[in-house]
Amino acid sequence: MVKIGLENVTKIFTKKKLENKVLDDISFEVADGNFFGIIGQSGAGKTTLLRIIAGLEGPTHGKVKFDNTVVAEEGKIKVPIEERNIGMVFQTWALYPHLTSYDNIAFPLRAKKMDENDIESTVLHLAKMLGITEILVRKPGRISGGQQQRVAVARALSKSPSLLLLDEPFSNLDATIKDNARSLIRTVQKELSITAIIVSHDPADIFSLASDTLAITDGRNAQMGRTSDLYHKPSNLTVARSIGEMSVIQGLMTQGSGKDVEVKLGDRCKLGFRRDELIAIVPENNTEVRVGFRPESLEVLEENNTALKGSDYWVLIGNGFVKICSYSAGIFRVLIRLDGLDDDIAVSSDVSIDTDSRISLYAKRDDLKLFDSNGNSMLNYSMSLGKQGSSNDERRRIYAST
Amino acid sequence: MTFLFVVPTLFFAAFLIYFIIWNLYYSFLDYSILHAHNPPFVGFGTYSSVLGDPLFVTAFGRTMLWVVVCLAVTNALGILIASLIFFLENGKLKSVYNSLFLYPISISLAASAVIWTWLYNPQEGINSIFVALHLPTFSGLSSPSTSELSLIIVSIWIYSGLSAIFYYSSFQGVPSQVIESARADAAKAHTIVFKILLPEAKNAFIVATVTIFLFVLRMFSLPYVATGLDPFTMTLAEQMFNYFTTEFFSKASVVSIIVVIIAAAVIVPYALFGVKRWISGD
């Protein structure tokens, strides 16, 4: 219903004469009806960004546009929040504790002085859609967290806003009901074809809802694009880590034979890269680099198991032992310590592996990420993209054969 | 537009500021029964005649003595009462005792003055017990040597409970695990009070001291109702009223300005210190 545009938005907070630049030159556009994600670690500036879009703060520099209207510019809020027609769901939900769920949802409509009959039909319709009809007479203190969140969503939607803003809306929910809540929001957003922006530090929120995502680091645009691209083709290590788990091993890059370069990890492992797989030409020998692994692109075998030797996909990273093996939602998370290395590596595994058992660690070659010592990606993703990801079936077959 | 919300408050506050300026202006004139119209400008003349007035000097000294004694005793009693209540086990009893010591503040000073005047009565009051026990009697309000002390005692009765709840609430702010682990270490009650509770009660001390200081500084109705404008119990506020009723208006203004200066010396740092805690919501 509305297209959102940010142009060179910068926000500086001044406290006791100290300037703190929380947002630095952020520009992006959210197309009408799109679901846009903003991800970043806490303190990265993502909530400030959302507040600027909402109109709770003004940008110190830059412009915010709703369709073609400039709503804020250079420190001035031109259209205040109450006139932007937005629905907002806060991290704490911010329900009015003295009002019933019904009155909470009706609040924005009463502020518009809508006719009570119309209010009733709107509230009941939304309540039905969100499954909270039974608790409409209760106050927020007397309903569950999940219900409170739905009331907050209903309240945000009741005045048919043209933009829905969600600030960490799931972080106060139990893990078990988060997915239900996410799917509900997804359905409602699609049904109403409303433009939506979600801010979260949790990749699960972003993956489940946002088609496009902006990753911000220290107030800067670190990467923007399709959400899956942020995961598979991170432009730097911070983005890679904010959108999913990534383990890192320090390595040394040297001139390989012919047009190749080699990355040495520990004493046993050498990874070869073609020159055209890299963005820049490596200037000299023995450059420090970091190799990143997603947990699902690693495989653990018993030590000296040779099932993956000679595979086109898999390379041996090294031998080591299992530090700990924990469990979450059908997947085992195994922490590995390789011989001669100081960093722990996280691997997801379909089966439990005993702590302290000796293992060999293999990685899917085409899923490796390579970063320079500043954490910037060195890979030319367009060249290696074709080989990204091999199927789960294959992985299982390989493991079963050991 | 939000500014409109504070306009009514500013309207009334403006009067308060106007009053202070008015006083300041008239303190440099000689506005009195002698010059009811067109009072002449006398510079600091009125100030020097007030400062040279033995009635004012004694009232000033008496008020300061009152402040010092009342603060010392109410703080000490406040700590004692708060500690005694703090170590009670029954929560209901705690709040009953807190209210019991605080209730005098809800009674008017005038009513307290009426009651205590009778309690200090040489024959009928508390003295009747001393007489029955063949103990020396307390001359109370009837003798100039004890009348001020008698009134100070009443003010202590009024304000100790207030000081106690300030201390009590700061004691309650100490995490209960800290107290419990001290008890597990077999610490004695007085050790807990002096080593754990009181070091955390700096705030309570400041708040109790400032609040009670300001109450005593404007002390008027207790001595006024108990003894009238008696030279042996007269306070600063009474002296100001005395100048007013005898129509030495500029002298009353001079006393006002002196009171404002003393009060401001305490209030300004206190308000600056308080702002952060008072509006800590962000």
């Binding site: 907002m88 | 209730y103 809800s106």
Partner: protein, 277 residues
């Protein structure tokens, strides 16, 4: 070996508290027993000794204090209502913004809260005389509001600062104007604080002696505390009337304290230590 020592300590602990509390209660005790003592009892027993019940002093005093009590009620309720409400409006202003201007205004108001009210004796008398408001309800209420509004604003600001920012922001996102945010969200959610502010102001105005002493001139405008001046006990007066008068004049603030003491205490604590207690 430990037990008897512990019991002894506990006994001493309770004994000290009971003795102190008994001392503190002497004035209430005397108000009750002596306010209901017959004239004969007064002549035969000292103040601390109870004797037979008589309602005569209470009845006599009540009829004399009827008008002053009505006056006190009018002044206290009007002042407390105005100060709490206008104070709440100001609190909303302070809540919304954090600029140096409103911090300055706030500090001025905090200072105004604690300025001894006697200092304005002369100018207020002159102003009210000029406006013809001397010795009238509007004049008295106006004066009381000048002195109690800063305190009301300060207290309400303290209480309102506990309101989560996100609730007010969400009301704004819901399209509510400042007035709606205040009247439908901020004020209802600080109602307990408003009750504390109202009660504290009510009791302070009820008990104020100086302002009605200076600004009233006829007995029909006297307040309850001013009326006590005629019960201080001169030569030959009976003390039962004095105690009955003190009791009648203190009854309403005492009842407020007993019934709503929680709010009363919270008000004092907030003024002292801020909203976090």
């Amino acid at each position: 070996m430990i037990r008897p020592l512990k019991i002894a300590k506990k006994t001493i602990h309770h004994a000290i508290l009971i003795i102190l509390a008994a001392l503190w209660l002497i004035p209430v005790y005397t108000m009750l027993i002596d306010g209901m003592k017959s004239a004969g009892g007064v002549l035969t027993t000292p103040i601390l000794q109870p004797t037979g019940l008589s309602f005569t002093p209470l009845i006599t005093v009540s009829s004399a204090l009827e008008l002053p009590i009505v006056n006190s009620l009018i002044l206290a309720i009007a002042t407390a209502t105005i100060s709490t409400f206008i104070g709440a409006l100001a609190a909303f202003y302070f809540y919304k913004g954090r600029s140096w201007t409103n911090n300055t205004v706030f500090v001025i108001i905090a200072i105004a809260t604690f300025i001894p009210y006697q200092i304005t004796l002369v100018p207020i008398t002159e102003i009210l005389s000029t406006l013809g408001l001397f010795n009238t309800y509007p004049g008295l209420i106006f004066t009381f509001v000048i002195f109690h509004l800063p305190g009301g604003a300060l207290l309400m600001t303290i209480f309102m600062s506990n309101l989560p920012k996100s609730i007010v922001e969400s009301a704004r996102a819901d399209g509510a104007s400042d007035w709606i945010v205040f009247s439908k969200v901020a004020f209802p959610l600080t109602l307990a604080g408003a009750v504390s502010t109202f009660i504290l102001t009510f009791v302070e105005v009820w008990n104020n002696f100086f302002i009605p002493l200076v600004l009233t001139s006829t007995p029909n405008m006297y307040t309850a505390s001013i009326s006590l001046l005629s019960y201080t006990g001169g030569y030959g007066t009976l003390y039962n009337d004095s105690f009955a008068a003190a009791l009648v004049a203190s009854l309403i603030p005492l009842l407020v304290f007993v019934l709503l003491g929680r709010y009363f205490m919270r008000g004092f604590l907030a003024l002292g230590s801020g909203s976090k207690g």
